[in-house]
């Protein structure tokens, strides 16, 4: 009975979203307050209905209702309780319901926190979000119903894919979706502004905190995915340029460009069209990502099932959203000349360069991801694009980005002189030199990229620190607000990320070898002693657990217990063991037994220096994004007149 109620709630939410998509639009066009208010009521009702159906699906997992097909496929009577919750989004249908729930949560937040916005603008924004929700609900109800019954009921479930039975996977999808779906708000703001022809500076100011929050969640989601792949896939890598990773990385790159472009539009009024295009592109790429991941065109852990109708549906949806919004842009985009002029060397120019580099980067990832699909569709052969393609181009584009980054926040709006900027940046340049030289001598295996990466990282981090110190000693009235502090923190995070990303690969050591109990192997100064294996039993698996004791210069560092698990559904999985550290991770993966008695094992040993910097850097970027979203100026009441010039001094004035 309960699952049917869940389904009825879905249908009810669909009807509400359709109402939300139409009535407020009519109200906004003829100034009818009552019709406009339908948007808020609808957003709240829709959220509670979807939350209700989500709770029902979760309940079906908790009580193990194997008469629901989705539960029977993705759960098992032995599944531990915490994974029954994450199993809700462990496969196609449930993950779409999570997508929809998060969309409703964002819509709900817009309805609650945008009371200061003009009524018609808010009504249009909520209407756009209503349309997005309606399209997605149609998809869920007609192609991916999570509440379908299984008759006769299954005796036991098939179990959740063991790869997904991991704490990292409990939070990775919700965080990633918070980011993905969050860009629907920037998108809805852009479309609403186009519909009402209100592409003003104030519009950008309303939109900015939402973009920051979505971007911060996406950063966290991607970092969690990378961390999970690192310890769970058991191969010691942190980024594989897998099409699914690319699918989440592309909206992140464009989202980053959008944040910078929005800053210019808010402060100077320029780049309006560009900001609109980026907002539309970012959300389109999120939908494209959903399509790539969920339609089964890709070989991946994320491609749950290949059902052609689903792919066709998402593709149609994508075409309608992208085509419709671009058409609207073509008709309604504000004229070309707007905002204040700027000189060849100014903060505007530098942000323009940043945007160009980021867009080229996204285009390069898009090409590498879609090219194989295109050739396949044309029957021109099955190919794949090797990771070196992405790695090389990414590194090449990172060089100008890293070099120009400090100029970006030191440069004044409108016009600046190169001489002044170079003077300001003498100290960071010295820091970069020290960092590069130190790396060259201390880490001889780092190679050219490692040295360049550390130099770039020091260049960025030193400028962040210096800039922040200067700003903190400014007049009390002009000290940095949260927006500016967040910006500095996020860019400092870029520096830390660069340290990890450029050093980990060249400095790491790894060894695949055969070991029997008592064997030892020395890797990068650490002596790994294999003590043998023993059988252990988990809630829904049995495993061989190896014991490795690691010594350094005769002193015991740690013991590691990697496992080779066999789950109740027969699936075998490696659970790597690792000893994390700020400057190095020790990592052991257990391969297969090499003889009948199970005394000799294939073993993978890794020494991974600085890999934590990658995720610490990403976490700082996320923190910066969240902090910037809470800046005081976003909470100021909105005047209906356009402002003539920005009143807050924080970003507009560079220190003398």
């Amino acid at each position: 009975m309960l699952p049917e109620l869940g389904q009825i709630a879905l249908i009810g939410a669909l009807l509400i979203s359709l109402t939300m998509g139409t009535l407020p639009l009519i109200g906004a066009s003829n100034g009818n307050q009552k019709l406009m208010r339908v948007g808020q009521t609808g957003a709240i009702a829709q959220f509670f209905l979807i939350a209700f159906s989500f709770v029902i699906l979760t309940w079906a997992f908790v009580v193990q209702d194997f008469s629901v097909e989705y539960v029977a496929r993705n759960s098992n009577s032995l599944l531990p309780m915490q994974y029954r919750f994450s199993a809700v989004w462990g496969s196609h249908e449930g993950s779409l319901l999570l997508w929809e729930l998060i969309l409703c949560l964002w819509t709900f937040a817009v309805a609650i926190f945008s009371k200061k916005l003009p009524d018609d603008f808010r009504a249009r924004t909520l209407a756009v979000l209503g349309w997005i929700s309606a399209g997605f609900l149609l998809f869920v109800i007609f192609t991916s119903n999570p509440f379908g019954r299984l008759i006769p009921q299954a005796v036991d479930g098939l179990d959740l894919n063991p790869l997904l039975q991991d704490p990292g996977l409990i939070i990775h999808p919700p965080m990633l979706y918070m980011g993905y779906v969050g860009f629907s708000v920037s998108f809805a703001f852009a479309v609403a502004a186009l519909l009402g022809q209100q592409v003003t500076r104030e519009w950008v100011r309303w939109s900015r905190p939402w973009t920051h929050v979505a971007w911060a969640f996406l950063t966290l989601g991607i970092a969690l995915g990378s961390w999970w792949a690192y310890y769970e896939l058991g191969w010691g890598g942190w980024w594989f340029w897998d099409p699914v990773e690319n699918a989440s990385f592309m909206p992140w790159i464009i989202g980053t460009a959008l944040i910078h472009s929005q800053a210019v539009t808010e402060k100077r009024g320029t780049f309006r069209n560009w900001t609109l295009i980026l907002a539309i592109t970012a959300f389109s790429l999120c939908l494209l990502g959903t399509f790539l991941v969920r339609s089964g065109v890709l070989t991946s852990v994320h491609a749950f099932a290949s059902d052609p109708t689903r792919g066709v549906f998402i593709l149609t949806y994508l075409v309608v959203v992208v085509g419709g919004s671009l058409l609207l842009f073509a008709i309604r985009a504000p004229g070309m000349v707007q905002g204040s002029n700027f000189a060849g060397l100014s903060r505007e120019t530098l942000i323009l360069l940043n945007n160009l580099l980021l867009v080229v980067m996204a285009a390069m990832v898009l090409t590498g991801t879609l090219y194989p699909l295109l050739l396949d569709a044309l029957d021109a052969g099955k190919i794949s694009v090797g990771p070196p393609y992405f790695g090389t181009l990414f590194a090449l584009l990172l060089i100008p980005l890293a070099v120009l980054l400090p100029f970006g926040f030191y440069a004044r709006w409108q016009e600046d002189s190169l001489k002044r900027l170079l003077g300001e940046l003498r100290v960071p340049a010295f820091a970069a030199l020290v960092g590069g030289v130190a790396t060259y001598f201390l880490l001889p295996t780092a190679g050219g990229w490692g040295v360049a990466g550390v130099a770039g990282a020091f260049w960025i981090m030193a400028s962040c620190l210096r800039y922040y110190r200067e700003r903190m000693t400014a007049n009390p009235g002009q000290r940095p607000g949260r927006g500016e502090t967040g910006m500095i923190i996020a860019h400092f995070g870029v520096g830390l990320f660069l340290v990890g990303a450029s050093l980990t690969n060249p400095v790491s050591s790894e060894k695949h070898l055969r070991m029997v109990a008592g064997d030892s192997f020395e890797l990068a100064g650490y002596n790994f002693v294999f003590e043998g294996t023993r059988g252990v039993r988990g809630p829904n698996y049995v495993a061989d657990e190896g014991e490795f004791i690691v010594y350094k210069s005769g002193k015991r560092v740690t013991s590691l217990y990697p496992q080779k698990r066999r789950y109740s559904n027969g699936q075998v999985m490696t659970e790597a063991a690792l000893d994390p550290g700020l400057t190095r991770d020790l990592y052991v993966g257990l391969g297969e037994a090499l003889n009948e008695q199970g005394t000799a094992w294939a073993v993978r040993l890794y020494h991974k220096p600085f890999i934590r910097f990658i995720w610490i850097g990403a976490l700082l970027m996320m923190a910066g994004g969240f902090l910037a979203a809470t800046d005081r100026r976003y909470r100021r009441p909105v005047s209906q007149k356009a402002e003539t010039r920005p009143t807050d001094a924080n970003l507009a004035e560079a220190p003398a």
Binding site: S306, G344, L356, L393, G589, E592, L594, A602
Partner: protein
């Protein structure tokens, strides 16, 4: 030309040049890193010269997996029904590597016709068949083994 126009023109030219350079590098880098996928049947029709990297996919022939002593070197046969290729791999095999299951190996043929794999990928879970392998099997008419994997 007014100074503003001149400046704009320079900016546009610089941007176009930058994009041009970027796309040229991207194009060559893409060409260099393309890996073709071949099934054993395709390989039999159109041999690939030794030493050239490609991806080989099919099913691991039951009973063909052989480990050399207790070392990390494994040999197995990849088949799509009519044709087969022997693969040699040194290292630990993925968890889901199993006889009778779909597999994709990256590597190159050596002079004796043995496929030396540098990487072996198996499917991610029990119900999933890499699409390339599924298609290749369908084309060679070898569908009986994968029917249970669909869905």
């Amino acid at each position: 030309m007014t100074p503003t126009r001149k400046r704009r023109l320079i900016a546009v030219v610089l941007i176009l040049a930058g994009v041009g350079v970027a796309s040229t590098i991207a194009f060559y880098s893409l060409q260099e890193n393309l890996l073709y996928f071949q099934s054993p049947s395709e390989l039999a029709q159109q041999p690939i010269p030794a030493g050239r990297q490609f991806r080989l996919g099919g099913l691991v022939k039951p009973g063909s997996v052989e480990r050399q002593g207790e070392s990390l070197t494994t040999q197995f046969v990849v088949t799509d029904g009519p044709e087969e290729v022997t693969v040699e791999y040194v290292g630990t095999l993925p968890d889901l590597f199993r006889e009778g299951q779909g597999v994709i190996a990256r590597g190159a043929l050596d002079d004796s016709g043995l496929f030396a794999a540098s990487e072996v990928l198996a499917k991610h879970d029990e119900n999933y068949m890499p699409p390339e392998v599924a298609d290749a099997l369908k084309e060679s008419g070898h569908v009986s083994m994968q029917s249970k994997d669909e869905g």
